[in-house]
Each structure stands twice: as structure tokens, then as C-alpha cells.
């Protein structure tokens, strides 16, 4: 009873938080308390007529009706809430072929032209796509060689970083700047999104308000994909509650060690499934492992006062044998295998790893059960401000090249690509053509109906192998980020982790000038090498904690202040964007 009440409360919290973070037109970073009056599922006021023209925009002050349960907000009635259909189809009268470069590796299809989305897209827009693929694993080489030999496609889809950044690529005459086309009114769908969603308007441009790329935009704020987990079956066995504070963790880890004879905590510092992504315990000390946005100012986590306290706690746990003694040397596979083997009571983990771990764990121990848990607090009344978080405007970007201008296809291409951000276009990309890959059910939810999904078990295939046949993933389009098949545990962890605030997380879309980026990276490669090394040594006791001050001095000597200055300037420019 109590449990389900907390669950309901936590869901409400998530919703409020998301509304306030994303939808607030005032742009304040506060938690959602002031928006109490907003009903989450209240329909917006956008109406679209048959011609796809917008009749009336939504009242943005109300925030957007987000709900994390996909079944509900994917209903037929709600789906017109996220975009409009302002593209006049088809976008061209004469046949047009665009060459698109995209990394591709699939065992179920020969090429992306087999994908249902592109077949349907061609029917609707009149634009045919011809794909060129870099060799698997050689994407960066192929990208650089194409540029060096002037062998450009019309569009690079999610290419590697251009040396010096995308603005340099525009200066060098490779990428095409999109601002003029936007100003000409050739992107009505994006225009609508920008006018109605403040975060999109802020994140889709650089500091001078110029547009360079077609990003993946999540119509549902992308959920955290990494956080803390505990073995629920062990908790039950030991008669413990879910730990909430660092003191609870002390107690839990000790009891687990005693009862199970293992070092129960799988800690990760330097790779991507722990401290670096989900602020494993470091959030409890009001700091992070890299730069954080502490109340509108960029600060470097290891220089914050809490960092030493975090090190001290980790060192204490390590000395007590509560932390996996091999944690520093584990690669991802060894890390996950250790969890699945039942040698771990608590860990940081991305939900992407969950399938393999649960499958293996349960085959070895039928009671095996992992439950998500919130970041603990270290003092009374503490509010945690850090967790894994993504911006609505994601880092997956498609770039147009100057070849479009040479071939006189630029305006058609812009209209075509803008269609990907319309409601219908976004739906098509997210889920594939209706009636082919999915269909709406009576209750307003949808189900996948793509034929090969049905007998996938026979073929030994899964959703994640088959999806390229009928839907897109990680392109520049208006994405429904829940249009995938998830395990039930995944919904559970997303709901829970989302309840914690993420306002200190550095925004994804701050931008550097090429000079800044080079200087910043030069300083940080050395500093990150040093911090990784020293953090591990402090935790494992190879360096005494009394040397922390020396550590700070060394960071200063390595020019951390200059790096902070650069990133802080970028942050200020970002926050000052209209």
C-alpha cells in the first residue's frame, strides 16, 4: 500500500519536474513546485486541418503534457500535440535523388534503401535517397578521405567530428549553413517547434543564433539511461529497506559483505557506466567528476569541497573491503559479468546492459533481482542536483554539404529534411509507416506489426536487430523516444531516476569556437589523465588523502583555471541565448 502510494507520488513528481524543466516559458531552472496547477494530460490547443496547416498554436505557458508511460501518450488523440504538418507534399515535381552518407551495419538487410521508412518517404516527398556507406569501423577514415578528395555526398548523417568542429567545416566550405534557409521560411515545421518549445529554440542554434545541423529532437524528454541499482532479493533476505542516505549505504554494504562474503559494491570511475555518467555517490557530496553547471556557473568537480569527502568515503569503503577489489581494471564485459555472477550487491549501470545481466543472473540464481535506487544523500534536507541527463536536442546530427548548392538541390533538400520534423514525418521516422510496421489499437495505444517481428524467435533475432527494416534510430528527426521495445524493468528505472533533479548537469549544446575547443581539449586531455590516475590512487590508498591539496595545486599548474574560464564563457553564452 505504502509502496504504491510512493510510486504514484514519484510519478507525479517526475511529471512536474519535466514540465518545469522543459516546458516553462520563463526558462527558470527551478523544480516544478510553482507549476502545480498544470494537469499533465491536459490536451494542448494545437489543431491541424486536413491541409496540414496550423490553425492555432498551443498555449506554451501551460507547459507540455508529458507523461512517461508511453502507452498513454502514444494514444491517437494525443499524438498531434508535438508537432505540426506544414510541409506541402510532395516537395518536388521533378525526380530528385539525394546522396546520403551514413554508417550502416546490419545482418538483416543489404542497404538502408530497403527500410520501409525511406520507401514511404519517397512516395510522400518525391525525393529518392541514394545511400553511400563507410566501411564498418572505418567511419572516421572514410569521412576524412571523402573530404580530402572532395567526394562529398549531399548529406552526412551522424558523421564523426570534423577536425576543428562543424563551424570550421562551414568555413572550409564543406557543410552548408542552414540559417539562410530558415530565414527564407523553408523550414516551417522547425520554425513551429522553435517558436513553441523554448529548449529547442535555444539548443538548435549556436551562440550567434545560427543553424548548422539537423539534430535528433526528442518530443518526449529523453529519459536517464544510467543510474544506481541494488540486489532487491538480498535486501529482502537481510531485512533492509532501499537505502536513502550514505549512512544507509554504509549499513547495507557492510551487512551484504557479512552475509554474502563478497565485496558488494561494483564501482566504476573511469568508464561510462558509473561516476562519469550517473554521478555514482559523488552527487551526494554536491559535486561531479567533470565540469558541472552549479547554479549557472561552470565549476570543475574535483576542485569542489565535496570531492575530498567523496574520496574519503570511497577510500573508507575500499579499505573495509566493500568495493570490488578489481574495480579499476574491469572492462565493461567483466564489469557486467561480475554483476550477473551474483558477486555484486549494488552497482551503477546503464539499462542497456540489463537484458544480458538479468538473463544470465536468473539462469544462475532464480531469485536474482535488480532494482533501481536513487542517488543517496549525505546530510539532512539535501537535494541532489545531478543524474544522467540528456537535452531534448540530442547530439545525433545530420549535416548538409555544399554539394547541394552545386547541384542546385539545396532548397528542395531543406524542405525535404524539414518534413522529418513535422508530426507525420516524425511519426514515420519514429515508428515507420502506419499499417506496415505498427497499427493503432482500440484503446489508443499501438502495437508493432512488422511481419518479421512475429517470427523473430524462430530466426533467433530480436527487436534491436530488426528495427532498421522498418524504423529509424539516431538520425536528425522529430523522435518519439519511446517508440522501441523495452523491458518492464526499464520503465521502472526511468520513472524512479527521473524524480531526481538534474539542473547541475552541464548542458549538452554549449558551443565553442574552433580556437576555444582546441585550447580546451589540449588542457583537458592532460588534466583528465591526471585526475583519473589520482582518483583511483586516492580511493585505493596508494596516495594518502593528505595529498589532496597538492593534487589541487597540480591541477592549477596544469591550467585548470583557463579551461574553466573557457567552458564557463561558453556556458554563459548558452544561458544568455534568447
Amino acid at each position: 500500500m505504502l509502496k504504491s502510494l510512493t510510486k504514484v507520488l514519484s510519478i507525479i513528481c517526475v511529471l512536474l519536474l519535466l514540465i518545469s524543466l522543459v516546458g516553462c516559458s520563463t526558462g527558470s531552472q527551478d523544480t516544478g513546485t510553482e507549476n502545480d496547477e498544470v494537469t499533465p494530460n491536459e490536451p494542448g490547443e494545437t489543431q491541424v486541418d486536413e491541409k496540414g496547416e496550423v490553425v492555432e498554436g498551443p498555449n506554451t505557458n501551460n507547459g507540455r503534457p508529458y507523461n512517461l508511460k508511453p502507452v498513454k501518450w502514444d494514444s491517437r488523440d494525443d499524438r498531434y500535440l508535438y508537432g505540426i504538418n506544414a510541409t506541402k507534399l510532395p516537395v518536388t515535381d521533378k525526380p530528385v535523388t539525394l546522396v546520403v552518407w551514413r554508417a550502416f551495419n546490419s545482418t538483416v538487410m543489404k542497404g538502408l534503401d530497403e527500410c520501409e521508412v525511406f520507401k514511404e518517404l519517397e512516395k510522400r516527398t518525391g525525393v529518392k535517397v541514394e545511400f553511400v556507406y563507410p566501411p564498418v569501423g572505418q567511419e572516421a577514415d572514410n569521412f576524412n578521405l571523402r573530404i580530402a578528395t572532395n567526394d562529398l555526398p549531399h548529406m552526412f548523417s551522424t558523421p564523426p567530428e570534423y577536425p576543428g568542429g562543424y563551424r570550421k567545416a562551414v568555413e572550409d566550405g564543406i557543410y552548408l549553413e542552414l540559417t539562410p534557409y530558415y530565414d527564407k521560411g523553408l523550414m516551417p515545421n522547425i520554425k513551429w517547434l522553435r517558436e513553441n518549445y523554448e529548449e529547442i529554440d535555444r539548443d538548435i542554434v549556436d551562440d550567434e543564433g545560427r543553424m548548422f545541423y539537423w539534430p535528433m529532437i526528442d518530443i518526449v524528454p529523453s529519459h536517464p539511461w544510467s543510474g544506481l541499482w541494488v540486489r532487491a532479493d538480498w535486501l529482502e533476505e537481510l531485512g533492509l529497506d532501499m537505502p536513502k542516505t550514505i549512512a544507509d549505504w554504509d549499513n547495507m554494504l557492510r551487512k551484504m559483505k557479512e552475509a554474502k562474503g563478497v565485496a558488494p559494491l561494483a564501482l566504476d570511475i573511469t568508464r561510462w557506466y558509473g561516476v562519469k555518467t550517473n554521478y555514482m555517490f559523488i552527487a551526494a557530496y554536491d559535486t561531479g567528476y567533470d565540469f558541472i553547471n552549479k547554479n549557472g556557473k561552470a565549476v570543475y568537480g574535483p576542485l569542489e569541497p565535496g570531492f575530498k569527502d567523496w574520496l574519503t568515503k570511497m577510500n573508507e569503503w575500499y579499505k573495509e573491503g566493500l568495493i570490488d577489489p578489481d574495480f579499476a581494471t574491469r572492462d565493461p564485459q567483466s564489469y557486467t559479468a561480475n554483476i550477473a555472477n551474483g558477486k555484486v550487491g549494488a552497482c551503477g549501470l546503464a539499462y542497456g546492459e540489463l537484458g544480458q545481466i538479468l538473463e544470465t543472473g536468473r539462469s544462475l540464481d532464480p531469485d536474482f533481482s535488480l532494482k533501481p535506487v536513487l542517488q543517496p544523500t549525505s546530510y539532512d534536507g539535501q537535494v541532489i542536483h545531478l543524474r544522467q541527463n540528456n537535452s531534448i536536442v540530442r547530439g545525433d546530427r545530420d549535416f548538409f554539404t555544399t554539394r547541394l548548392v552545386e547541384d542546385g538541390l539545396d532548397e528542395i533538400a531543406v524542405k525535404w529534411k524539414d518534413y522529418w520534423y513535422s508530426q507525420d514525418g516524425g511519426d514515420l521516422c519514429s515508428r515507420g509507416p502506419e499499417g506496415v510496421s505498427y497499427r493503432w489499437k482500440e484503446d489508443g495505444s499501438y502495437e508493432w506489426i512488422y511481419p518479421r517481428l512475429k517470427d523473430r524467435e524462430k530466426e533467433g533475432l530480436d527487436f534491436w536487430t530488426l528495427y532498421p527494416l522498418f524504423k529509424l534510430h539516431n538520425w536528425g528527426y522529430l523522435r518519439d523516444s519511446t517508440a522501441y521495445e523495452f523491458r518492464p524493468e526499464v520503465y521502472e528505472c526511468i520513472e524512479l531516476w527521473s524524480t531526481q533533479d538534474a539542473s547541475w548537469v552541464m548542458p549538452d549544446n554549449i558551443s565553442f569556437t574552433p580556437e576555444e575547443s582546441t585550447e580546451f581539449n589540449n588542457i583537458m586531455v592532460d588534466i583528465r589523465t591526471y585526475v583519473d590516475e589520482m582518483t583511483l590512487k586516492f580511493i585505493m590508498g596508494q596516495e594518502p588523502l593528505s595529498k589532496y591539496d597538492e593534487f589541487v595545486t597540480n591541477l592549477k599548474n596544469m591550467n585548470i583555471d583557463r579551461a574553466t574560464e573557457i567552458i564557463n564563457a561558453a556556458l554563459q553564452r548558452y544561458l544568455a541565448r534568447k
Partner: protein
């Protein structure tokens, strides 16, 4: 006849035992891969480290996942072509070059050796190399794989060094018999050094067999890809990294076969080339030189 002393007999036993131990130790990595490739995938994932026998019930599912790839056969045939043609061409050029460079009294030899050694250390890098292939009109041609790597400098130098051990008297006497330089290379020098020639051929063949970087750069169509490039694609497609990058979970059995696929791929990629060496060993015969001197 030479008689063994007591000490030498003891040494001999000791030697047999030592070599046996070395065999066991060095056999392990391959054995590990072989055993893992037919194990129960769930157990392979869970139990890491040292094991000698297949875990759980043996299965060939991993192999069927790898070998069912439609490109495997064409990849294998392509590789046979690259290994066959490439090695032959390499051997002809290397043997001729190394033989000449090993002769004394040639005025230009020092200059050519200097150029070769300098190139060993200073290379132009990927982009100019790529442009060169393009300008020669070799893009998407099988020769783009073979020609730019016809000579391996290390192999050339080793070959040259062994040619210097061929006694001058042997060559001079052949010359007196009226043999041309071309004939001397193939009828006298190569047979005398047949073990080294076999080893260099092995090195070239293994190099070709393992090659994936250049082929992946120069081909736009998959039908010219060698086996290694195909296997690399299978491997990357099944790597944990690429799966977790999309931040998602699969639920079917394929996911648990990822690891198995890794081991099976390695087996498919290495076993055929492993089989070459035993056949080459028949060229490892002592005392060829006597024969040619007397003959």
C-alpha cells in the same frame, strides 16, 4: 659417428620436457577460444577466466550465426585470390630485389638500400597514400589491395640477408658454366635457401590473410571484400559496445550469442591459415647446400 656424452643425454631429456611444457603454455590461448566457441553462451558470459573444457552443453549455434552470413563465401574466395596472387607477386619481386641487393660490387645498391631504409621510418600517411591509389585509377579494383603492399621492407631485408650467406663461389662457378643471372636466382640461390623462402612466403601469406584496413578503404562494393573485412563487420555488429551505444536491450537469444560469435569469428578467421605451416615444414631440410655444390 658422434657419440653422445652422459651430460648431453640428460640435456636431451630435459629439452624434450621443456619443449613440452612450452607447448602446453602456448597452446592455451587458442584452446581457450576453441572451447569457448562451442560453450553455452550464458556460462561463457558468466564464467570468465581459466577453463579447459566447454562450459555447459556444447553448441554449434555460434558457428551457424557466423557462417550463415551471405558474404562469407565470397569473402573467403576473395581472400584466396588476394593470398594467392598477392603472395606470388610479392615473392617474385622480393626474391629478385633481395638477390640483387645482396650482390657485392653493384654501384647503386647502397643508394637503393638507403631509400628503402629511409622509407621504413618516414611515410606519408593515409591521405596522400589514398590519393595515390585514386590517381593511379585503382579505386574499387582488386589491384588496389595487392599493388601498394607488394613489397614488405622487413621481409625484403631478411631475404637479402640470407642471400648474402650463399657462397660467392657457388655463384661464380655457375657463371662459368654460362648460367644467366636470372637462372642463377631460381636454380641455385632459391633452392639453397628454400627454408627461408618458404618462411618469407608464409609471412606474406599471413599478412595478406589478416589484411583488412586497405581493402576496407578502397572498395565501394562488398563483393570484393576479403574474409577479414566481412568477419570484422560481424564482430562489430555483435560487439557489446555497439549494442550498448544505442542504449537499449534486446531480449532474445541472439543477445547472449554475442560473445560466442566473437570466439567463433576468431576460429573461422584463423584456423585455415594455421593449416598452412605444417605443409611448409617439409622445406625445412638441412644440408641443401652440399647438394648444389656437388651437383
Amino acid at each position: 659417428m658422434y657419440m653422445q656424452t652422459r651430460g648431453e643425454r640428460i640435456f636431451s631429456y630435459f629439452n624434450y620436457i621443456l619443449l613440452f611444457v612450452i607447448c602446453i603454455v602456448t597452446l592455451y590461448p587458442l584452446w581457450h577460444v576453441a572451447v569457448a566457441s562451442i560453450s553455452d553462451p550464458i556460462l561463457v558470459f558468466a564464467k570468465r577466466g581459466f577453463y579447459l573444457w566447454p562450459l555447459g552443453k556444447a553448441t554449434l549455434k555460434g558457428y551457424s550465426l557466423v557462417l550463415n552470413n551471405p558474404n562469407i563465401v565470397s569473402g573467403f574466395l576473395n581472400t584466396l585470390f588476394y593470398v594467392g596472387v598477392g603472395t606470388t607477386l610479392s615473392m617474385v619481386v622480393t626474391i629478385l630485389g633481395a638477390y640483387v641487393l645482396s650482390r657485392k660490387g653493384l654501384y647503386w645498391n647502397k643508394v637503393v638500400m638507403g631509400l628503402i631504409i629511409f622509407y621504413m621510418y618516414f611515410q606519408g600517411g593515409l591521405i596522400p597514400f589514398f590519393l595515390m591509389v585514386k590517381n593511379m585509377g585503382l579505386m574499387d579494383s582488386r589491384w588496389a589491395v595487392i599493388l601498394p603492399t607488394v613489397v614488405n621492407t622487413w621481409n625484403l631485408i631478411v631475404m637479402r640477408t640470407s642471400f648474402t650467406t650463399v657462397p660467392d663461389s657457388l655463384i661464380e662457378s655457375a657463371k662459368l658454366d654460362g648460367a644467366s643471372e636470372w637462372r642463377i636466382v631460381w636454380v641455385i640461390a632459391v633452392p639453397v635457401l628454400q627454408a627461408t623462402v618458404a618462411v618469407i612466403a608464409l609471412f606474406y601469406a599471413v599478412g595478406r590473410w589478416n589484411e583488412w584496413f586497405n581493402p576496407s578503404l578502397f572498395f565501394t562494393s562488398k563483393n570484393k571484400y576479403p574474409l577479414q573485412v566481412i568477419l570484422r563487420e560481424i564482430l562489430l555488429k555483435n560487439s557489446t559496445q555497439s549494442m550498448t551505444q544505442i542504449g537499449v536491450v534486446g531480449q532474445s537469444e541472439q543477445e547472449s550469442y554475442r560473445l560466442l560469435v566473437k570466439y567463433c569469428t576468431i576460429m573461422v578467421a584463423t584456423v585455415p591459415i594455421l593449416l598452412v605451416y605444417p605443409f611448409l615444414q617439409r622445406y625445412f631440410i638441412h644440408g641443401i647446400m652440399i647438394g648444389s655444390l656437388k651437383g
